[in-house]
Subunit: 312 residues, 3 copies
C-alpha cells in the first residue's frame, strides 16, 4: 500500500458552493489538505499442482471519509500465466497499459485521462458512480465482475465482464452488462503499444469507448507518449464526452529529479476550452517522493498540488 | 481464513421476486456467482502463569455485500483446558459436534441441518436474524454473549449464555436470555457422540431445541452419521419447525476424491415434502478443494453448486 | 493494541432510562459486561535520508458497537525528533503529560480528568461529540487535524490545529478552528511537569482550557501528582464546567500489587457535590493485569469496575 498527503488547490473551490433554503451561499475552500492511506490485505495459497489461489481486501482512508473503508473483495486463481479474478474484480479497460500514464503531481491526476464512465475495482464499496452528464448515482449490492488476464513474452491480454446486478434484471438504472478487452505489448523495454475497448461502460447502454496508445521510453525516467481516447456516449448522445488526444512526457533533469507534463485536446461540446495541459515535477527520496503539479482544465480553471507520497 | 467462489443454482430463483407498486414483477436469477473471503484477525498474549488472553475480529466479504464487514469481536481467556469467551462469543449449541456434518458442496449447505433459530458468532454485525415463521428481524447493539468450554481426554463440554440486550429489559422483540449446553465425546478417533440443548433459542421465549448425534469414521475420508434434531418452537407453537432426522455419509471413491450425501426427514407442517436429500463430491487439490452438490429441499425445489475453496 | 473485559457497575443505571410515547419507563441495568478490543495497524517506511514516513489506522470494537469500527487514519513524517501528523491526528492538549494520570480501574476512568470538550484522535469515525451542556452532536466529514511534536532531552513540545470543516466555513455548529499547545519536562525519571492550553476546544468559540500538573515518582509503581484544570467555557458561560483540582497517587503495597486513588474538587454549578474520589487496585500478571476501582462522582452516584486487561 501507500500513504500520501499534501495541499490541493482548485480555482473556484474544491467542491461546488452550497446554497441553503434561505438563499445563503457557502463557497468551498480553494485549498485543502488532502491525504490517503491505502493498505491491501492479500491472502494466498498454492496447491500441489502449482495453482495459486488468493483473495484481496483493500482498506483505504481518504481525507474526507468519516470512517476508513473496507472495500468488497475479490478471489483469484492463477496458473501458467493465466489469472481469473471474480467478485469486485479489476476490469480490462481500467487495467489497460498507458491509460493513466499522463498523470502528474502527488495526487496522480491528468485532464488527459479518459473522461468516460467505466467499471473498475471499487475501493469505496460497490459502485457509486457519477456520470458527468446525467448525474446518475447508483449503489448496487449484487455487482459481479470477472476478469481474465494472460501474460506471455511481453504481451498482456485481458477481458472482463461486469454485471451490475446479477440477481435482478431491468430494475431500472444503468444495468447493462459491461464488456471490455485490452491488449498491450512491450518491445525491448522501450516501446509500449496499448489498445482497449469497452462496451456499455459502467452499465450504460451504448456507452462504448476505446483507447489507442503508444509510448517510447528512453530510459526509466524519460519517456514520451501519445493517447487517443473515445470517451463514449452518454444517454445515446454521441457527442457528449468527445474524443481526447493526449501527448505526454517526462524527463530526468537531474539525478532523482524528474519533470513531466502533458497537453490534451478534448472535443466535448460542454468545454469552455478544448485544450488542457499540466506540468509537474517529482523528487525521489528513496522510498518516498516529493511531487507537485499545476494543471488547467477544460473549464479554464487552474488546479495545483504539492505533497509527499510513500510506499510500504 | 478461507476464500471460495463458484456458481450457485436455485430452482425458482436465488431470492424471491420483487413486485413494484405498479404491479411489475422482477424475478431473481436462478444461477449466480457466489463468493466469500474470510480473514480472522487474532491477537494473543500469554502471562507468566501460563494463562492465554486473546481477542478475535473477523473480516468477511460475501458476494452481495456492498462493503466488507468487520464483525464485532470477542475476548477470551484460556488456562488448563478451560476457555471463556466474552462479547460476540461462540455459543454452546452452535459449536456442538456433528451439528453441521451433513453439509456438502462448495458452500457447505444441507437441508439436514437444524432449521431452528439460535445465536452464534455474528459475522455481519450484531444479530440480524430472520425467523422462518414470524420474520422478526431485529438488530441489537447491546448483545452480550459468554461461552465457557472445557476439553479433556476426548470430551468437550460447553455452556453459553447470550443476553440479547444487557442494558434494557422488556423493550419488545425476542429478548429472552438464551442458555445452551453441549457435550461430545470422541472414542478412538472413530466414534463421536454429541448432545446439545438450547433454551430460548435466539432470544425467543420457549424456543427450546436439542440435538442428538452419532458418527462412525472408518478413516479420515469415509464416515457415516445420524442426527436427531428438535428444531424448536416458534411463538409457542410446538409444531412449526418440526423434528429432523438426518442420515449422512461420505466415501473416498479414489485417492483425493470423496463423494458424500445425506437424506433428511423433517416433520414441519409447512413442508411440501417431508424428505430432503443431497449428493455431492469433492476433489482435493492440496490446499484447495473443488466441490459441488445437488440437493432437493422441503419445498421440492432443486439447488446445486460447483466451485472451489482454498484455505490460507 | 490491547483487549479488556470486566464488569461495570453504575448506580442509577449505565445509561439513562427510556420513556416510550405511551409513558412506559425502561430503566437501564446498573451492571453490565464491558469489553474492548483495540488493534492499531501501522505502516511505515524510511527514506535514504533517515526520514520516517508512516500511517496509522485503528480497528476497535467496544461492547455495544454492532460492528467493529475502522477509524479514519493519519499520515506522519518523523525526522530528527520532529514529528508531523496529518489527518485524524492526535492533538497537543489531549497528548499532554499527566492529563490522564489519575485514572484507575480496568476501564481507566477518573472524575479527576478534564470535563472539557476538546478534539483528540477519533476512534469511532469523525467527531461525534456531546457537549455536556448544549448537547450539540455533530459529525463532520471534512475534519482536518495537524499536530507537530518535538522531543529532546526530557522535554516534549506539541502544537496542533484542528479545522472541523476544511471545505466550508460558517455552515453552522461549532466549527471554529481549535488550537492547542502542550509542553512537559521529565527530570531524573522522577519529577514530571506538564502544561497545556487549548483555544476553541472542540471547535466551540471561546471554549478555552488549560492544564497545569506536577508528579513525583518514587519508583515505577509509587508516585503522587497534582493537577489543576480549567475545563473551559460552554456557549460563553464562564462558570459551566468549572475548575478541577485533582490529587492522585499510587503505591506498590506488595510485589506486583498496586493500589491507587484520587480526590478531585470541581467547581461547576451543576454539581450535586463538588468532591469526587476513587480508589482502585491492580495486580500484574505479566502481560496482563487484573484491576478494579470504586469511584463516586459529582452527582453523588457510585461507579465500580473489576476486570482484566491484556496487551499484545
Amino acid at each position: 500500500g501507500y500513504g500520501r498527503t499534501g495541499v490541493l488547490y482548485q480555482e473556484d473551490g474544491v467542491r461546488g458552493a452550497i446554497v441553503t433554503d434561505d438563499g445563503d451561499v457557502y463557497t468551498a475552500s480553494e485549498a485543502i489538505v488532502q491525504s490517503r492511506l491505502r493498505m491491501n490485505i492479500d491472502a494466498t495459497t498454492s496447491t500441489d499442482q502449482g495453482v495459486d489461489f488468493g483473495g484481496r481486501i483493500r482498506i483505504q482512508w481518504d481525507q474526507g471519509d468519516d470512517e476508513t473503508t473496507v472495500a468488497p473483495g475479490y478471489v483469484y486463481v492463477t496458473a501458467s500465466g493465466l489469472t481469473v479474478e471474480i467478485g469486485n474484480s479489476n476490469t480490462a479497460y481500467d487495467s489497460a497499459a498507458l491509460l493513466y500514464n499522463s498523470e502528474i503531481g502527488v495526487y496522480s491526476r491528468s485532464f488527459g485521462n479518459s473522461r468516460g464512465d467505466f467499471f473498475a475495482f471499487n475501493t469505496d464499496g460497490y459502485p457509486s458512480y457519477d456520470n458527468t452528464v446525467d448525474l446518475t448515482n447508483q449503489r448496487r449490492n449484487d455487482y459481479m465482475g470477472v476478469m481474465v488476464k494472460y501474460a506471455v513474452a511481453g504481451v498482456n491480454l485481458r477481458a472482463s465482464v461486469v454485471d451490475p446486478d446479477q440477481v435482478y434484471d431491468g430494475l431500472g438504472g444503468d444495468d447493462e452488462k459491461e464488456y471490455s478487452v485490452s491488449a498491450d505489448y512491450v518491445w525491448n523495454d522501450s516501446v509500449t503499444l496499448s489498445a482497449a475497448y469497452v462496451k456499455n461502460g459502467a452499465g450504460i447502454d451504448d456507452n462504448d469507448q476505446y483507447l489507442l496508445g503508444a509510448e517510447y521510453a528512453f530510459n526509466d525516467k524519460t519517456d514520451i507518449g501519445l493517447l487517443y481516447i473515445d470517451n463514449g456516449e452518454v444517454l445515446g448522445d454521441d457527442s457528449d464526452l468527445g474524443k481526447t488526444i493526449t501527448l505526454y512526457g517526462s524527463y530526468e533533469v537531474a539525478p532523482l529529479t524528474t519533470i513531466n507534463g502533458y497537453v490534451a485536446n478534448n472535443s466535448a461540446d460542454s468545454n469552455e476550452t478544448d485544450n488542457a495541459f499540466g506540468i509537474g515535477g517529482s523528487y525521489d527520496l528513496g522510498g518516498a517522493m516529493l511531487a507537485g503539479s499545476v494543471q488547467r482544465g477544460y473549464n479554464e480553471n487552474i488546479t495545483a498540488d504539492m505533497g509527499v507520497q510513500f510506499n510500504f
